[in-house]
């Protein structure tokens, strides 16, 4: 797979401002990618099922998941880590919570990474760039 092929990120984030900030950061840089934003866990699950059922199946290259959604965000994690058609998609939990309990919850449900949104705008942008670079460029999904 060419690195220059457009990558697809599913951003599950209910806060419109945070979704906009993340999208701005993720769509910058050399690696082209498009960001699809949904605001609830149920929308995310419907979107993943719909893409998995498509012919040929399409799936996002990366899921970025906010834990504090109007409904239960852990249902998205559970689906992604228990459905064999979706299990290879990396899931990065991105939250403002600094709770140890939330971190353990992410680990228990096999999230690939758990990141806390930095308060500093520059660090937030850098974090987005780094996670995009790692999961879409370094992490090999072509095997």
């Amino acid at each position: 797979m060419s690195n220059q092929q457009e990558r697809h990120i599913l951003l599950v984030e209910d806060n419109a401002a945070h979704a906009k900030l993340a999208s701005l950061a993720l769509t910058q840089g050399d690696l082209p990618c498009c960001v699809h934003n949904v605001t609830t866990a149920s929308e995310a699950i419907a979107y993943l099922h719909e893409n998995a059922a498509a012919s040929p199946p399409t799936a996002p290259d990366l899921v970025i998941l906010d834990l504090n959604l109007p409904d239960d965000a852990t249902e998205v994690l559970h689906l992604l880590k228990h459905d064999l058609k979706l299990i290879t998609i990396p899931v990065v939990v991105l939250t403002t919570s600094q709770s140890r309990g939330d971190f353990e919850k992410s680990c228990r449900l096999f999230a690939n990474s758990h990141l806390i949104k930095p308060l500093d705008g520059a660090r937030f942008r850098e974090l987005m760039a780094t996670l995009k670079h790692y999961w879409l460029s370094i992490h090999d999904q072509t095997i």
Partner: protein, 467 residues
């Protein structure tokens, strides 16, 4: 290596006004960040105080039964009967009552306590034993002891015993007043070396304390619940105040970068986002302050005509919900409740607002208000014709800043405020599925007996109240 600017390079000129806006935004971000930190620290301090109160309470509760149940005699001198070291030891340390653990402890126990000066005038008083003194304890301060004790028949609590205490003689004992056993302790303050000269009197309702096994777990459960609520509050507040700060900081960063690169087309959009984040922060802070104010003082109870109150709310908020969509069942119209008018109005406003927001949507929103009496509680139900709330979310909607609808413009505090108001009246709040598939939010309030003319019709009073 290029070590000087090319003459062809475009030169970016940024107006002073834009830099000024940028500086103001940065200052605003820093100020709001500092505010969030201070608020979080303050909440942590409050939790520590709550934990300490619970610890003191547990220690005292473990000691008190021995004093209440041990001697079967009355009015023994201190030399023969150990002076109660449970409440009075704490009292000694706080001879003039104030906002401290003593006050909280006495507030939880079936007890009254007062301090006297050398002229036998009551200098401070607190506690509650219904009808023990036949007057509000707050009214006793400033009165002479003889006036206060004129309604108490037992000789143990006499002016003479208090005078004896002024000379250093402690007295404790169990006595009967109006057919109920009480535990009394009269302790001089001088011999213990305190700078306050006078007498400390503590009276505990022995009959109520005899049920300690039943009441103690209930009181402990209340304190546990308060501690748990406080911890959740800290977690939620620190999380939700951080959310607009991330937006503020993030968009300020983009404004800075765009200004530096000379790109100005996105700046109005980013500034709008910053204004939105500031508005979010202001709304969160306002709602949080409103939430914090509930329960800080006792509800100002009065008889309220529920039907009229619903009418008032409907008519005074035409822009928020349509009065025509509010339907009252006949019982609700006739029923009177005893509650704090301002708080009940606020709770109902939030219930109606929620029903309107999450109902079927204008112009088809229908809100039904019902009220009934059951098990000594008045239950007010507000049902909408919306989609309802899934069972797994029915408890979560009462958490602070909880939002089930991502498009909601509220702060997610409405139902948390409703529950807090209900609980500070001694009731509760919840949500259940509505009969038409919508959501039925309910509030219960204890049905207090009123002797006013405008009380509820007899037919609606509970059997025990009629008795």
């Amino acid at each position: 290596m290029l070590n000087h600017a090319s003459p062809e390079a475009p030169k970016v000129i940024v107006s002073t006004e834009i830099w000024l806006i940028l500086v103001i935004l940065c200052a605003l971000t820093v100020a709001l960040g500092a505010f969030a930190i201070v608020l979080t620290l303050q909440l942590r301090k409050t939790t520590q105080r709550s934990r300490h109160t619970k610890q003191v309470f547990n220690e005292k509760m473990n000691k008190i039964p021995e004093q209440i149940t041990s001697p079967g005699h009355r009015s023994l001198p201190a030399s023969e009967n150990r002076v109660s070291d449970a409440p009075s030891a704490t009292m000694h340390a706080n001879a003039k009552f104030g906002a401290n653990d003593t006050e909280r402890l006495i507030g939880l126990l079936p007890a009254v306590a007062w301090t006297l000066n050398e002229d036998l005038q009551i200098t401070s008083a607190l506690g509650r034993i219904e009808s023990f003194l036949e007057t509000n304890i707050d009214n006793c301060v400033g009165s002479h002891l003889s006036e206060v004790l004129s309604r108490v028949s037992d000789g143990f609590l006499s002016v003479a015993t208090h005078k004896a205490a002024l000379t250093g003689e402690s007295r404790t004992g169990v006595f009967i007043h109006r057919g109920r056993p009480f535990h009394g302790s009269i302790t001089p303050l001088v011999p213990n070396g305190y700078d306050y000269t006078g007498v400390l009197t503590v009276v505990i309702d022995g009959a109520a304390m005899a049920h300690l096994d039943e009441t103690s777990p209930r009181l402990r459960a209340i304190l546990d619940q308060r501690e748990h609520e406080m911890e959740r509050l800290i977690h939620t507040v620190s999380h939700d105040l951080k959310t607009p700060l991330v937006s503020l900081s993030g968009f300020s960063e983009y404004v800075t970068r765009d200004l530096q690169s000379g790109r100005t087309d996105r700046i109005p959009d980013f500034v709008e986002e910053i204004r939105g984040a500031v508005a979010d922060m202001a709304r969160l802070t306002d709602e949080l302050l409103a939430y914090g104010r509930i329960g800080q003082s006792s509800p100002q109870l009065e008889v309220i005509d529920l039907g009229k109150l619903v009418d008032e709310i409907g008519n005074s908020n035409p822009g928020i919900f349509n009065r025509e969509s509010l339907h009252l069942n006949p019982n609700a119209i006739e029923l009177h409740v005893i509650a704090d008018r301002e708080l009940l109005q606020l709770a109902l406003w939030h219930l109606f607002h929620n029903a309107t927001t999450h109902g079927h949507g204008e112009p088809n929103t229908q809100i039904t208000v019902q009220a009934s009496l059951s098990d000594g509680y008045i239950r007010i139900e507000v049902e909408d014709n919306g989609k309802g709330i899934a069972e797994k979310h029915r408890e979560r909607v009462f958490e602070l800043f909880s939002q089930l609808n991502p498009n909601s413009t509220g702060a997610g505090m409405g139902l948390a405020i409703v529950r807090r108001i209900a609980r500070c009246h001694g009731g509760d709040a919840g949500v259940a599925p509505g009969e038409g598939g919508g959501c039925k939010a309910w509030v219960t309030l204890p049905h207090r007996v009123t002797h006013r003319e405008d009380r509820a019709p007899r037919s609606e009073l509970s059997a025990e109240e009629n008795a």
